[in-house]
């Protein structure tokens, strides 16, 4: 908390009294209570607010829809919530060029609705699209099952404007998909958890909405069988859009696969899938199966621990067996949604004994070139490092932070290596 009134007055003069308010209980960021919430009305105002905060030496937490504020370590300080809620315009949907320029506070749902008017989409399935914002999903690098076909946010973003703590508004990339002029700062901002600058606008490449789509489900008897099926499908010439496998306790492993194509193409794909699966039946399922990742947050009553894990696709069975064995010995209930890209989300509860299990799982995953990030955990696990060891690149990351946010104003302590 900060005690001085000066900064508050400066901020009020920048954004107007109606756009600054004291922090409330719902603004708490992993246990830290911010003093103010400021809602600038445009990019310049936002950059000026940020510069004022930086000059005053206070900690700033950029915030979009506040859906993923628990991701990342608790902030060392959180004096000011810098909300992008008023930067919510779709600036330009150049539909004939398949690009969109959008302000960072625009929700994903609003963006997708705008794009759908011309039969297009931002090809990703983010969590809580009705509240999550462009800036929020970019900063947290949140992508879902569509990533298999369309790549991650890093592959969809083609331009970015960042507000830096010294008040600079800097753009990189542009409005064309193919562009190698200058450094790729859109990628640097993606997944940086707002620690280098505040994203004020982004430009994305778009894809057409599918002509038609069908999802299929099939079960495997064992984890190993599911592993074989995942690898066989990935090694096949099927042109699927998404592919996820669900594992939980003693339940039979279940997989979902999505095809998007013309009607003729869809029926041929379904036939090929069935021929590849042999004796294993595949039945059509509604598209809501793709909510499985989001449902990890809502199933059950307790505030569970939720992890994002990455692994090589061929290591799925090995990892699932490891989780199964350790969870059994600790009497922990677990649900895993893992995609064929090798990105998975794991729900664990209750919290007793989990601290050691998570660290061991992290070590196990790292052995196979993977990683583990804690997205949500109950307060008793608050001490867990969200990110784990950053390896030999930490010095470069710190140097980057030092260049762009020299005073450590943005999201202090929340990122890898306590950046």
């Amino acid at each position: 908390m900060i005690a001085t009134g000066t900064i508050e007055e400066r901020l009020r003069s920048l954004v107007g009294a109606q756009h600054i308010r004291p922090g409330r209980a719902e603004d708490v960021v992993r246990g830290v209570q911010p003093s103010f919430v400021v809602e600038p009305g445009n990019e310049r105002e936002l950059a000026d607010v940020l510069r004022s905060a930086d000059e005053s030496g206070i900690g700033v937490i950029p915030r979009g829809g506040a859906t993923k504020l628990s991701w990342g370590n608790p902030p060392r300080r959180a004096d000011l919530i810098l909300s992008t809620t008023r930067l919510n315009r779709v600036i330009e949907h150049a539909w004939a060029d398949l690009t969109v320029t959008v302000e960072s506070g625009c929700t994903i749902q609003k963006l997708q609705e705008t794009l759908a008017q011309h039969g297009q989409r931002l090809a990703l399935d983010a969590l809580w699209p009705e509240r999550a914002t462009v800036g929020g999903i970019l900063s947290s690098n949140d992508t879902g099952a569509l990533r298999l076909r369309f790549g991650g946010l890093r592959d969809l973003i083609i331009g970015v404007t960042l507000a830096l703590p010294d008040g600079t508004l800097a753009s990189s990339g542009g409005k064309v998909v193919k562009n190698v002029a200058g450094y790729d700062l859109p990628k640097l901002a993606t997944g940086a958890l707002g620690t280098l600058g505040v994203i004020t606008r982004a430009i994305f490449r778009l894809h057409p909405l599918p002509k038609s789509a069908k999802s299929f489900c099939f079960l495997a008897k064992t984890t190993e069988e599911m592993q074989d099926l995942v690898l066989a499908i990935q090694d096949s010439k099927l042109a699927h859009t998404s592919f996820q496998a669900l594992f939980a306790g003693a339940a039979a492993p279940e997989a979902h696969i999505l095809f998007e194509a013309t009607e003729a193409g869809l029926s041929a794909q379904a036939t090929q899938l069935r021929s590849l699966l042999g004796q294993i039946p595949a039945h059509e399922v509604p598209s809501r199966v793709w909510n499985a990742r989001q449902e990890l947050w809502t199933q059950g009553n307790t505030q569970a621990t939720i992890l994002k894990i990455t692994l090589l696709p061929a290591d799925i069975a090995k990892t699932v067996s490891y989780i199964e064995n350790t969870a059994r010995s600790l009497h922990v209930s677990w649900h895993l949604v893992v995609q064929a890209t090798g990105i998975g989300w794991l729900r664990l509860e209750p919290a007793e004994g989990l601290g050691a299990m998570i660290e061991e799982l992290r070590t196990e995953l790292r052995r196979g070139a993977g990683s583990l990030v804690v997205l949500q955990c109950p307060t008793e696990l608050q001490a867990l490092d969200s990110w784990g060891d950053a390896g030999d690149t930490l010095s470069v990351m710190r140097a980057l932070k030092n260049q762009l946010d020299r005073h450590g104003t943005l999201n202090p302590g929340r990122f890898v290596g306590c950046i």
């Binding site: 790549g151 600079t168 002029a181 790729d184 894809h207 193409g265 990105i343």
Partner: protein, 482 residues
């Protein structure tokens, strides 16, 4: 070069890896952009990561600038040596280290030739997707530096899409691992920043690539239009119909003539030729191909044909990929330009290019990656005619200004390098460029790695680069850094 330093370099690598005689150095004085030439002090050919580290440590200690070089096919002068600097050629580090088919990953050294990656995994029906026209000779390390594209990046993405991780020797000689074999390695996306940084952030010594399963079928259609305007309208209709072809290429009449003369690709003679490639499952591709056919017919295509065999398809592509070199058949000299426009600006930009061509009396041939608006205007000239080379250069820069005015970019795949660094300030504002330079300072505070490239003016990284500078409030004891 200082004899002591020369001897240290020699010790760091074996004797055959050290080149300093003027006649041998001549090979390295330029890359594919031959009108810029600088003689390096020496060329060093390491054969391991450790040797690269040893060389770079000496450079760092002695503040000797260095330029990494792959096959030297770059078209923007990215591998042009710098004054009083050395060239570090990665040509000897050309081993494919690991092929992991179940996970669709290949780990290579930077000197591996692009097409050899596909060659390695072709028997299992995989391929490495980025396909610059020089793919039979260009190296993966060079592709990483330039973020190379190619005709098929419309669907498959660029080098950056396919590089998952990198082992990099930083400009101080230390070794770091950016990204990795899995996706979303925690931390900043440093491999995303490194790819396309044109050798200014360090030297890649290992690259983890993603490979792609070959599609069930590939169909290539050729359509002949009266001019590039009708061909461009067909492209817009294909995109508007919700299709994402593997590639859409366009050539104008002059480019067709040159390609025909060079490789006899059997192209129809017309004002605008479109080459559309669809790939994927047979049923899907056939359904979409009918639509493409109808769209081309509707937009006035006088002839539409689909390559009937692999050999025919290969020939169609050979013509396209040879288009730059083929200009030698119709002009003594030419400049290859590389600009990008939003696809919808094509008719307007094309008519401006025609106007500029008439105004200057210089012929301009056009080869486009039409699907993503990447133009390759080829400005033809004769260097023996006084003033024509300068006029051609000026024209090629004016075309880039057209691209910027249309909301595009000064380079889609060839890079900024030496050639276009002065154009950067026309595309980006000072704060934009300054922010990029801050990123450079984080990797290379002494600006040793390919300095003088990409940015119009160098930026000082501060007297004590990388060190923490306390906030005035901290100094005054009013705030604390945690």
């Amino acid at each position: 070069m200082d004899l002591r330093v020369a001897s240290e370099f020699r010790k760091a690598i074996d004797a055959r890896g050290y080149i300093s005689s003027p006649e041998e150095l001549g090979t390295y004085e330029c890359d594919g952009l031959t009108n810029f030439r600088v003689m390096p002090l020496a060329v060093l050919l390491p054969s391991s990561t450790e040797q690269v580290q040893a060389i770079v440590r000496i450079c760092h200690r002695e503040r000797i600038p260095f330029v990494a070089r792959g096959s030297g096919t770059g078209l923007s002068g990215g591998a042009l040596p710098v004054e009083n600097g050395v060239v570090i050629s990665l040509a000897r580090m050309n081993h494919i280290l690991e092929v992991d088919l179940p996970n669709a990953r290949v780990v290579v050294e930077p000197g591996v030739i692009n097409l050899d990656v596909t060659g390695q995994v072709q028997p299992q029906e995989y391929f490495y997707a980025p396909d610059p026209s020089s793919q039979s000779v260009c190296s993966i390390g060079g592709n990483v530096a330039e973020n190379s594209g190619g005709a098929h990046c419309l669907k498959y993405g660029f080098t950056t899409t396919h590089v998952l991780g990198l082992e990099v020797v930083l400009p101080d000689g230390s070794l770091v691992h950016l990204g990795g074999k899995t996706l979303d390695v925690p931390g900043y996306d440093l491999s995303g920043v490194f790819v396309g940084s044109e050798g200014t952030l360090g030297i890649a010594t290992k690259v983890i690539l993603r490979i792609v399963k070959k599609p069930e079928c590939i169909r290539t259609l050729l359509a002949a239009f009266p001019s590039t305007n009708e061909a461009g309208a067909a492209v817009s209709d294909i995109i508007a119909a919700g299709m994402l072809p593997a590639a859409i290429e366009m050539m104008d009449n002059l480019a067709i003539q040159a390609a025909e003369a060079a490789v006899h690709a059997n192209y129809p003679s017309c004002g605008g030729l479109l080459l559309v490639e669809l790939d994927g499952p047979v049923a899907e591709v056939e359904a979409l191909m009918q639509q493409v056919d109808a769209i081309c017919a509707k937009n006035g295509a006088s002839e539409i044909r689909v390559a009937q065999s692999d050999a025919e398809r290969t020939l169609v592509w050979k013509g396209r990929k040879a288009a730059f070199a083929a200009m030698g058949r119709i002009s003594p000299n030419y400049i290859v330009q590389d600009g990008v426009i939003p696809r919808t600006a094509l008719p307007q930009v094309m008519s401006e290019i025609v106007r500029l061509s008439q105004e200057t009396g210089l012929r301009v041939a056009n080869v486009f990656h039409a699907g993503d608006g990447n133009l390759h205007p080829l400005v033809l000239y004769d260097r023996h005619i006084p003033g024509q080379e300068q006029a051609a250069e000026a024209l090629s820069y004016r075309i880039l200004e057209l691209c910027i005015a249309a909301g595009g970019s000064i380079t889609g795949e060839h890079g900024v390098g030496e050639e276009k660094k002065m154009m950067m300030s026309k595309m980006f504002s000072e704060p934009d460029l300054d922010t990029m330079q801050r990123v450079r300072c984080a990797f290379d505070p002494f600006q040793l790695s390919n300095p003088t490239k990409v940015f119009p003016t160098p930026r000082l990284c501060g007297e004590k680069p990388g060190e923490y500078v306390p906030h005035p409030l901290e100094t005054a004891g009013l705030a604390e850094r945690f």
